[in-house]
Amino acid sequence: MNQRGYGAVWLVILAIAAGMAFVPDCRAAGGPPGVGGVLPEFVLPPPQRMEEVQYLGLKEKVSFKIPETRAEVVIVEIFSMYCPFCQKEAPAVNQLYQIIANRADLKDKVKIIGIGAGNSQFEVNAFRDLYRIAFPLFPDTDFSVHKLLGEVRTPYFIVIRIKPDKTHSVIYSQVGAIGDPGQFLEKILSKPAPGKGV
């Protein structure tokens, strides 16, 4: 191949490489809602147990949207029973739940919800039973909610703050382990609130 030939090949390679640099990662297409943004519109199926209905402040076992939860802050965990990292993280999230439950100033205001990406009700229940998870978990069998949330890796945590008028904002978002649950809680509660604080 002559000099000009090599030049042409490199031009093509560079053009493809430049193009690739601007191709968004499929997972990030749309992406998870960022801080300051809002959750996409989706409805979760009715909670299975009455204590979950009460925890979420619903009137009965009905489908609902997360911002309809009777809470000021909702921590949403996207998980999967098939994800080893989520399995490992389950005790830490349980501990987070317990810290909140033990604090009179927070227990009615800060709630946790788990959404099982690609998990059926049976699979979500298996995860709940094994790790004795007290907060409500919901199936997302066909990945539809997961897709709306930007096909995040798991576990993924999105925290929203709900205003009295039921509008909400995302105040925190992260992939992977939460670390020390107490510190995680303090961190999310210290995030600037768009409205009334906890």
């Binding site: 191949m1 090949v9 390679i13 493809i16 690739m20 191709v23 990662d25 499929c26 997972r27 999967s80 029973m81 098939y82 994800c83 080893p84 990292f85 989520c86 399995q87 490992k88 990406a117 690609g118 059926s120 049976f122 699979e123 298996a126 995860f127 094994l130 990945f143 997961h146 897709k147 096909e151 995040v152 890796r153 798991t154 576990p155 993924y156 992939v175 992977g176 382990a177």
Partner: protein, 201 residues
């Protein structure tokens, strides 16, 4: 020079493939990030079935991760067996299917069953991969050599040398009671498997 150019083009094509085929909604665990090969959507099934429900399950002996060979016949009269063939280590669906089974040991035990996990990977690869999962409670067997021999006997060896994503339930008498040669791109439903296992119990 020609060889160098060829390898660059191959590398580039591989890069494009990796960037372009990351839309699978499986293999999501953060634990595996950057370690899973995204092979894209594959032909759902690429083999000819050889067994049917009611057949005697072909016996086999394969090396296992523990170092001890494991045979199907050693479970005869003792345990129902779920053979879980998965296509390959370090691929999206497989890297979550077994971790899922790993946390529901109780559901299998309740049906007086064990799982035998089989791939056509070699032992070293299976070791690294299952360590990344944090280990599994059931035996993991390598059908690497003679390559895919057991997968072939069960009619689940694909043309590329990997097995199908397939589940077989073998009862204590060694009879095949359930076969699911699944779409390789999808994870079998756990509830269906456990339901079938309970019928065998």
């Amino acid at each position: 020079m020609k060889k160098t150019m060829t390898s660059r083009v191959v590398a580039l094509v591989a890069c494009c493939a990796l960037l372009g085929l990351t839309s699978s909604a499986l293999g999501l665990s953060e634990q595996f990030q950057g370690r899973i090969f995204q092979g894209g959507k594959l032909k759902p099934v690429d083999s000819q079935p050889k067994l049917k429900v009611g057949d005697k399950a072909p016996d086999f002996t394969l090396p296992s991760l523990s170092g001890e060979p494991v045979s199907l016949h050693q479970f005869l009269g003792k345990k129902n067996v779920v053979i879980s063939f998965v296509p390959a280590a370090w691929t999206p669906v497989c890297s979550e299917q077994w971790p899922g089974y790993n946390i529901v040991k109780g559901l299998f035990e309740a049906a007086d069953a064990t799982i035998i996990g089989i791939t056509t990977d070699n032992i070293a690869t299976l070791y690294a991969w299952t360590e990344q999962m944090g280990g599994v409670w059931f035996p993991v067997l390598s059908d690497f050599w003679p390559h895919g021999e057991v997968a072939g006997k069960y009619g689940v060896l694909r043309s590329g040398g990997v097995s199908e994503r397939a589940l077989f339930i073998i009862d204590k008498q060694g009879i095949v009671r359930y076969i699911d040669i699944h779409d390789i791109n999808e994870r079998p439903n756990l509830e269906t498997l456990i339901g079938e296992l309970q019928k065998v119990k």
